[in-house]
Symmetry: C2
DNA sequence: TGGAGCTAACCAACCAGTCGGTTACATAGG
DNA sequence: CCTATGTAACCGACTGGTTGGTTAGCTCCA
């Protein structure tokens, strides 16, 4: 096994940082701990990623890319899209936490260009589907997208109170999400 | 004007702490800044509230009490209940941030008894309404409560991307929330 | 042999929390 | 009505420890 490998070190840092940021956020994360878990010196982290904030950006960008690629979008089948969003966050609970930290700890000004672009394109797709009559709903595209997004993430690890009060299987929770979105589209 | 007033100082600290914690979370909040904004010495803060974590608890408990009192609950009119939740967080955006910080930064073990109790009682009310035939839905009470909660908070300051992409009035957003919940209950 | 990969040691700034002492105020005694 | 006294409210200054970030230099490999 080679002792020096910049790419491997970079990705080890990114992995460790993902765990740390997901668990504790930007303010709560400790650079020392990230370096320790990554099994390298703290200075490497600064050599590769600049500083703590930029490291978080790198982590968050990597997550967004993976998310967009894996989940995709389908304006013509929003219930199943919601189901895929649900699945993704069930399998990557860390990523939902990252998204929430991002919204809380990042000023509104410094939003990722990519996220804004994706939202705009999805709104356009929804509008297109509406005009083509493939979506018949009184909701505007923005309203639909916002509602679908929150419904899809309504369960997840962010709402553990409910799970504690009345345990419920993953399959059933998924079904609740999918049918809820379907009901949204009824007229 | 009197120079010494324990109650006034306590509440000034609580107000300052509410702003600070809402903006920056527990890890991000600075005790010095809270004392400065409250216009008193940092030591007072420790005399009255113990430490930083306990101060957050005091802030959060105060918010929960206000929220529960102001919003109430109505198992027989979930759409309007969702509307009230929407209104509350529109008028107190700080409080939604507090709730999210709480979920992110507090271990699952240390959840407030009051919150758990309220959830349980609401689930019971929903179940009662279902048995009485006042709610006809395929969703279980837990599913309903979870969905309603996320729909009600789907807009709010937590989803600014959508607002930026397609601005939309508060009244219309409220209507979207209320009708979405109503659609959930259709069969 | 030169530069990229890596490290130990270091630093200034900052942090939550504490401590010894001071001041305003209520009240009791004269 | 005035003043002595006890005490709760308050504060400046400090501390031990931690933080994000840097630097000087070593080591490995092309």
């Amino acid at each position: 096994m080679q002792q020096r490998n910049a790419d491997r070190t970079r990705s080890r840092i990114l992995d460790a940082a993902t765990d740390e940021f997901a668990a504790l956020g930007i303010a709560g994360a400790r650079v020392n701990r990230i370096a320790e878990v990554a099994g390298c010196n703290k200075a490497m982290l600064y050599a590769y990623y600049g500083n703590k904030d930029q490291l978080f950006d790198a982590v968050f960008t990597a997550y967004v890319e993976k998310y967009l690629e894996e989940v995709g979008f389908d304006a013509d089948d929003l219930p199943e899209y919601a189901g895929r969003v649900f699945d993704y966050f069930e399998e990557h609970p860390h990523h939902l936490r990252l998204a929430v930290w991002y919204r809380l700890e990042r000023p509104e000004s410094s939003r990722l260009e990519a996220v804004l672009a994706v939202n705009a394109s999805r709104l356009a797709e929804l509008e297109k589907a509406r005009r083509a009559g493939r979506i018949r709903s009184d909701f505007k595209p923005v309203e639909l997208l916002s509602l679908v997004q929150s419904i899809a993430t309504s369960w997840s690890s962010m709402n553990p109170e409910f799970a504690a009060a009345a345990p419920i299987s993953r399959a059933r929770r998924r079904r609740a999400v999918v049918t809820a979105v379907a009901k949204l589209l009824d007229r």
